[in-house]
Chain length 305, copies 2
C-alpha cells in the first residue's frame, strides 16, 4: 500500500495504514521544506516520521511529544528570528539531516536513515530529492511557504501558488514504482494545493498514478466545507475552486477511483458520482489512533471491492 | 589593554582584565574551531564570550551554566557521534554563527554580534577570519585537534603540532592595532602550543607583538610543572620543551617584557631573569572572580613599573 501524504492529515492516515499492513510506503511532500537557521527542515517528512515512530506531539500533530525549546530561547536571546518553532529534540533531526546532505547524501537516503533510527518500519520517501519550493502569491507579494504559513499565520489572501523548481524535479528513487506497483494507493486528507499538489506535480508522478493498475482511493481534507487544520479552504477559495469535498474531488478526478467523504457531506455524493468516481461516505475525522486504523481499514476494504 | 587568550585560562584572565578596565580587547585562538554536526564551533571564542557574559559554567569553565543536553541525546538516538558535548543553549550560538557565516559574514563580524547580544562589553577578536586548524601528530597518526583533545581525551603522545592554513591566514581586522596600540598586552596562562601559539603564528602577529611599544606581560600556564587544566605539560614534553614556567618563558622570550610565575616556581626566577625578562612572582591560580581581578590588577601594575 502506498500513501501520498502532506503533514498532519497525511501522517494520521499513514499511521492508520501502517497498522493495517506492514508493507506501507509513504510518499511525502517536500515543497514546504525550508532552511531555518541554516538547517534543512522537512516539516511534512518529519510529521509523518514522528507520527509513525509514535513520538509525535498528540496536541499539535507536529513536533515531538514533551518537547522543550531551550535552543530556540537562546537563539531569541541572540537576536535571531524565532517564529519557526524548533524543539530541542526536533533540532537533532534537522542537524543530522543537514550534516548528511552536506556530506552528499540524498534526501531519500537521509530520510531512510532517520526513519530507521527512530524505529519506523514503513518506508518513507520524499516526493523528490530535488529542490522544490511552494511559493504563495499574496497581496503582500510572493512569499516562501513557511513565511506565509508559519510567520504570517496563513492570514494573507492566496492569489496563486507557484512551485519553484518543479520543471527540473525528478521523482525520488522508489516513488514511481510505489505508485505503479502498489495494490492500493491512498491520497491522504492533506491540503490538495500545497501538500498533495506538489507531490502530484513532480514530473511523472501524476501520470504514473493516472495509469497505475492500483486501486486509488482519496480522502477529502474538507469536512462540511472546512479543513480540519490549516488553510486549505482559504487557498481553494483564493484559487477559484469550489470549497467542498466535491471541489477537491475535481482536482483529483483523473487519478482516483474512489473518493471518500465525511458523512456530513453525504449530499455531495451524487455530484461526485457524476465525475466518474466511486463515493465512499464515512466518518473521516481521525481523533484517535483507533480512528486512523478504522479509516485505513475501510479504505482498503472499499478499494478491494 | 589587550589579552591574547585561548580557552578557560584565557577567559579567566580576560574576565579579570575586564573588571580592571572597560577598554579590553581579547584576541582569541581559533585554531581549535571545528565543524560539529555541520555547525561552526569556536570553543575558545565561546569560552571567553560566555565567561565575559557571566554565563559560563563555573564547574567546567567551558559551556553555559545550567546547560541541558536534550538535542545531543536526540542526536545520539539518531546514531550521530556525540562525543563533543554541545548543550542546548550553546547550540544556539553555533547555529547563529554558522548561519551568519553562510550568509557571508566574517567570523569577526559574527563574534562581535554574538558578544553584543550577550551583553559583553569587552571587544572579542578572533585571531584570524581565515581557516586555521591545529593538527596533532600522534602515534595514531595526524588528528584534528578536537579529535585528539575531546574524543581521544588527549591521551595520545604528541609528536608534533601542525597548523593547517597558517601560511594563508591573515590577522582579523583590529588584531594588529590591538597589539601595537595597547598600553599593556597580556599573554594569558593558556596552552602555549595550541592556544597562544596559533595566535602568535598568524603571519604578522608575532612581529607586531615583538615590536609593539606596549608593555607585554605573560602569565605562566604551568604551576609547579603542571598545567591547571589540559594537556600543556604532555605537549611541551612531547615537543622537547622543558616542562616548567621557565620552558614556557623560552617560547615567548622575544615577545614579552615581564613573565609572571607562581610562588611555587619562585626558584625559577633567576633563570628567567637570565633570559632578559622581568620576573613577577605571585599566586597565579584563579579560583574565584576575585582572584581574576586581583591577578589582572597586579599584572597592570607590574606592567606600569
Amino acid at each position: 500500500m502506498t500513501v501520498l501524504a502532506g503533514g498532519v492529515g497525511g501522517a494520521k492516515l499513514a499511521h492508520g495504514a501502517s497498522r493495517v499492513t506492514d508493507r506501507v510506503t509513504v510518499v511525502v511532500n517536500t515543497a514546504d521544506d525550508a532552511r531555518i537557521h541554516g538547517l534543512w527542515v522537512s516539516p511534512d517528512l518529519d510529521t509523518v516520521m514522528y507520527t509513525l515512530a509514535g513520538i509525535a506531539n498528540p496536541t499539535t500533530g507536529w513536533g515531538i511529544a514533551g518537547e522543550t525549546y531551550t535552543t530556540l530561547e537562546a537563539l531569541r536571546r541572540l537576536g535571531a528570528d524565532t517564529w519557526f518553532m524548533l524543539g530541542d529534540q526536533d533540532l537533532a533531526t534537522h542537524l543530522a539531516r543537514t550534516a548528511r546532505l552536506a556530506d552528499g547524501a540524498s534526501l531519500s537516503q537521509v530520510t531512510a536513515e532517520l526513519a530507521t533510527a527512530l524505529g519506523v518500519t514503513a518506508r518513507l520517501l520524499p516526493a523528490t530529492d530535488d529542490p522544490l519550493a511552494t511559493m504563495v502569491d499574496t497581496p503582500a507579494g510572493r512569499l516562501d511557504f513557511q513565511d506565509y504559513f508559519v510567520r504570517r499565520k496563513h492570514q494573507d489572501d492566496v492569489l496563486g501558488v507557484h512551485l519553484d523548481g518543479v520543471d527540473d524535479a525528478r521523482p525520488a528513487p522508489g516513488v514511481l514504482p510505489a505508485l505503479t506497483g502498489a495494490d492500493v494507493v491512498l491520497l491522504a486528507p492533506s491540503n490538495p494545493i500545497v501538500s498533495v499538489g506538489p507531490v502530484l506535480a513532480v514530473p511523472g508522478v501524476r501520470e504514473a498514478l493516472r495509469t497505475s493498475p492500483a486501486r486509488r482511493v482519496g480522502v477529502s481534507p474538507l469536512i462540511g466545507g472546512r479543513a480540519v487544520k490549516g488553510p486549505a479552504a482559504q487557498m481553494l477559495a483564493g484559487l477559484g475552486h469550489e470549497v467542498s469535498a466535491l471541489g477537491v474531488a475535481r482536482l483529483y478526478v483523473d487519478v482516483l477511483d474512489v473518493w471518500c467523504i465525511d458523512t456530513v457531506d453525504a449530499h455531495l455524493a451524487p455530484a461526485i458520482t457524476d465525475l466518474g468516481l466511486t463515493v465512499h461516505v464515512t466518518d473521516t475525522m481521525m481523533r484517535t489512533d483507533h480512528d486512523r486504523e478504522r479509516l485505513a481499514t475501510e479504505l482498503v476494504d472499499v478499494a478491494g471491492r
